[in-house]
């Protein structure tokens, strides 16, 4: 998320764009080259949001670049429209529409699959432009005769010319594009996108509709591509068909990687490097066709040694030079207060609207069974949890506790049986929806957002609760979401990590990470919280503190805890369910369980043997 003083980046961008015509010509940049750079830079902003921030590497951006460009150029060259700006907007909308359609197919898969699919789809777009639609698009000749914009402002009329006049127009477009992008990345949506890049699984588990956000990022990227494509036509005076080729997508990817991913400015800098070096190597060094070899090598070296590109490298350098070391991880993590901070002052939250009546059944598993192929992990489990209860779930290794938990939070669907939460049948729901209803879990193996600070981590979870599964508040500042700051602070206080709030997660001590793991679940204000081995791997002191933490957070909540630490479970839990070989072996108060010969035989004996 771009940080720093508000509007500082915007002002610097404007300043830079104004200075360019006075500086760059003296180092050998032609206005035509600068204008090309701006188009690539604008094209790249969207791609950076998609790749650098959301983590989706698309090799098919040419499809939208071409679509936007050809729609705008078609409207203008066929005199269906005289306003260049309006044509650009319609072209952008066309690209967004294409983005929605392509995204719905391509986003069915992630990572490498996604990259390959985008390549194939972009090839299809190129084919369609070149062949079936060649009567409209001019085939390989493209569409010549795209006019330059003409502005009329109260009697004053201005026709944009090529060269620096065109630069003014493009720079204005770039500036607007950058301002919007900065707003998007400072908005809650931007925060969620970054969270998706870091850990899509957890982003979903804390209640964000990850698929919808990815599609949003994809369409935003398509919009930038389409707009830039339209500008390319305006700049060149004709719309070139090679906008649609794989080479266009490839060049965009390389420029972004060279300049720096996840910086918004990276693609612009990458285009500067690429276009300047291309001219320089050919004209001054006289390399002829070898220029591409040299640029290819430069690219490979950058990917190897400067993984965050030039801007990323500079940021790292600056950080190293001006580094104020974070307070080192304390020898012992801050103690957990005996009394939990009050929660009453929290803003209105839909989840607190109807508090649970004491004694009512909150969660009910009715005969759930899970089979993986021929292996049955859980068989016909019936469990119900009442409001305000702290339920312990124990069982020897392989008893099926993890699968059971995963079914309760809808991470895996049961093969048969139903799951009811507060009377509602949630079987087959998406994890994010279940979380939005007020049921979430903390993981046995930490699922954090490792590249963000502790505070940001908590914020991501709190945002889901404050904003719901999906909302496109692209222009609102994330910090201005009502109640968000308070909720974040309270959660931090609850897990006792307020002093460490601005430390990146990667630098936290293990015990702190475990607490944050619980904090992430807490921050979405669940009424029912499942904790999967919250004490795993902790030192005795950390265990004591975490037990205290659990005692604190159970006020106003219903808790289900899977734990190996018997002492802790017997200390905390009011009722205990014992799983054995995928079925419920016994259920009762700690005293009853301790007395149960069945349990002793099957389980406690097993522990002794371990």
């Amino acid at each position: 998320m771009p940080r720093g003083r508000p509007l500082l980046l915007e002002v610097l961008t404007a300043l830079g764009l104004v200075l360019v015509p006075f500086v760059l010509p003296y180092v050998g940049f032609a206005p035509g080259t600068v204008n090309q750079i701006l188009v690539w830079g604008l094209f790249g902003i969207g791609f950076d949001i998609l790749f650098g921030y959301t983590g989706l590497l698309s090799f098919g951006q040419s499809a939208f670049f071409g679509t936007g460009g050809f729609v705008a150029a078609y409207l203008l060259t066929n005199n269906l429209m005289t306003s260049v700006l309006l044509a650009l907007v319609i072209g952008t909308l066309g690209a967004m529409l294409a983005g929605v359609l392509v995204g719905m197919i391509a986003l069915r898969r992630t990572g490498i699959y996604f990259a390959m699919i985008t390549v194939a789809i972009a090839e299809t777009f190129f084919f369609v432009e070149n062949s079936p639609l060649s009567a409209l698009t001019g085939g390989e000749n493209g569409l010549p005769g795209v006019p330059t914009p003409h502005f009329v402002l109260g009697g004053f009329s201005y026709q944009v010319q090529n060269g620096w006049s065109m630069y003014g127009f493009l720079a204005a477009c770039y500036f607007i594009g950058m301002v919007v992008a900065l707003r998007i990345m400072r908005s809650p949506v931007g925060a969620v996108l970054i969270a998706i890049r870091d850990n899509p699984l957890r982003a979903r588990a804390v209640g964000h509709a990850v698929g919808a956000y990815k599609l949003a990022a994809f369409v935003i990227a398509a919009a930038y591509a389409g707009f830039a494509g339209g500008l390319l036509g305006v700049l060149q005076g004709f719309m070139p068909p090679d906008a649609f080729t794989f080479a266009t997508s490839g060049q965009l990817v390389m420029q972004t990687a060279i300049g720096g991913m996840g910086t918004l400015y990276g693609p612009l800098l990458g285009a500067v490097v690429w276009l300047y070096l291309r001219d320089f190597l050919q004209e001054v060094v006289g390399l002829g066709s070898t220029w591409k070899l040299v640029l290819g090598l430069v690219f490979v070296l950058l990917v190897c040694f400067l993984r965050r590109g030039i801007i990323g490298g500079l940021q790292d350098l600056a950080a190293r030079l001006t580094a104020k070391p974070h307070p080192p991880a304390p020898e012992e993590s801050a103690p957990i207060a005996e009394v939990a901070p009050p929660l009453a002052s929290l803003g209105p939250s839909p989840r607190h609207a109807h508090a649970q009546e004491p004694g009512a059944i909150v969660l009910e598993a009715r005969g759930i069974t899970k089979a993986y192929g021929g292996i049955v992990a859980n068989r016909d489990i019936n469990v119900s949890v009442t409001a305000g209860e702290l339920r312990g779930v124990i069982g020897p290794n392989g008893a099926g506790k993890s699968t059971f938990f995963k079914m309760l939070t809808c991470e895996v669907p049961p093969t048969s049986g139903r799951i009811l939460f507060e009377g509602r049948d949630i079987t087959g729901y998406d994890v994010s929806r279940v979380c939005q209803l007020g049921l979430t879990k903390s993981y046995q193996v930490n699922q954090l957002f490792p590249r963000l600070t502790l505070r940001h981590n908590i914020m991501i979870a709190a945002l889901a609760e404050r904003r719901g599964r999906f909302r496109l508040d692209l222009l609102r500042r994330a910090e201005r979401v009502p109640g968000l700051a308070l909720q974040t602070e309270q959660t931090l206080a609850l897990i006792g990590l307020t002093a460490r709030a601005d430390v990146p997660v990667a630098e936290l001590a293990y015990g702190e990470k475990r607490r944050l793991e619980i904090g992430l679940a807490l921050a979405s204000s669940p009424r029912l919280l499942l904790l999967d081995e919250p004490l795993a791997g902790m030192s005795p002191r950390e265990r004591r503190e975490t037990v205290q933490l659990l005692k604190n957070i159970r006020r106003g909540r219903t808790l289900v805890v899977v734990e190996h630490d018997m002492d802790a479970v017997f200390e905390l839990a009011e009722r205990i369910t014992v799983l054995h070989e995928g079925t419920v072996l016994a259920e009762g108060t700690p005293a009853e369980i301790q007395r149960s010969s069945l349990v002793q035989e099957a389980y406690l004996g097993g522990v002794a043997a371990e």
Binding site: F51, G55, L57, I105, R108, R109, T110, G111, I112, Y113, A115, M116, I117, V119, A120, I121, E123, T124, F127, V128, S131, F246, G250, V253, M254, A257, S289, T290, K292, L293, G296, L297, F299, V300, V303, C304, R307
Partner: protein, 291 residues
């Protein structure tokens, strides 16, 4: 132009085209399945195998030597790349690996252009496989029938290596669960290096075997790369049988649809791929939950 003889001809041609696609794609899919690296330099490796074979052929005049040289050269290139560069990228996000191999592919193409120029070069088929063979329903180039045979044998050999040897066991263990190789107490890196070498070899071998069919230019791998993507997506990324099935299906699509409207035959590949994605996102023989 749908006539019975033409249909049979195209059916056979689809098989021949598909076998070669399957061979190239199997390399891509083995590397991805084991190492989790999508090798965007695979098309360039295909091209490089052809050129390596060309050089050997120029020096010795023997086609067999050319094929061996093309395959061996790519084993070395693949293993060396893995050892020197790719290995540093296992801990980095998959996107970094894609960028890296994309860049390496460009460097390979431009290096060959630098060394050999852009004028295409050819390797003739061996004398015994030159000419055409009348097959009743059609006349087919003898060498293409040989290619079909070679591809089948090569795929069979790969199958044996993957399913009947210890190395294959490790590779498949890696495909199923990348953590497992380490648990088997094997030197994981050595396996990875070998796998990358084998995968590169599949591309290089296909490149030189295919060289008498096409003439070689530095850019020859570009369009092949996109087709191999389609093949593995249809078959299931990381699945060796999937690559074979996907290859054959793609070959048949290219051939059979050309009878109806040749202009659309390439794009039909993408249409079928999209359909597969919609109906069976993991690919025909892919495992759910991968990728």
């Amino acid at each position: 132009m749908i006539t019975w003889p033409n249909f049979v001809s195209q059916l056979f041609n689809g098989l021949a085209t598909g076998a070669l696609l399957a061979l190239i794609s199997s390399g891509l899919t083995i590397i991805y399945g084991t190492l989790g690296v999508l090798n965007l330099a695979h098309g360039a490796m295909f091209m490089l195998g052809g050129y390596a074979g060309y050089v050997a052929f120029q020096a010795t005049g023997s086609f067999v030597v050319a094929v061996i040289a093309g395959a061996l050269f790519l084993v070395v290139v693949g293993a060396a790349l893995e050892r020197v560069v790719i290995r540093r990228f296992y801990d980095r996000p998959p996107e970094d690996q894609i960028l890296l191999t994309f860049g390496i592919g460009i460097v390979m193409v431009e290096l060959v252009r630098f060394g050999f120029g852009s004028l295409s070069v050819s390797v003739p088929p061996p004398a015994w496989a030159a000419g055409v063979t009348p097959m009743g329903f059609l006349i087919y180039p003898t060498y293409r029938i040989v290619v079909l045979g070679i591809a089948a044998v090569a795929l069979g050999t790969l199958y044996i290596v993957l399913y009947r040897t210890r190395l294959g066991l490790m590779v498949r263990a890696g495909i199923e669960d990348s953590g497992m190789v380490g648990m088997l107490g094997i030197n994981v890196y050595r396996v990875f290096m070998m796998v990358f070498g084998i995968g590169a070899m599949a591309a290089g071998f296909a490149g030189i075997v295919n060289a008498p069919v096409v003439s070689l230019t530095p850019d020859i791998g570009d369009s092949i790369l996109v087709q191999t993507f389609v093949v593995v997506v249809i078959g299931g990324v990381g699945s060796f049988p999937g690559a074979i099935l996907g290859g054959l299906i793609s070959g048949e699509i290219l051939s059979l649809t050309s009878m109806v409207d040749p202009a659309y035959s390439q794009v039909m590949l993408f249409v079928v791929m999209t359909l597969v994605l919609l109906l069976r996102p993991q690919g025909l023989l892919g495992q759910r939950g991968r990728a």
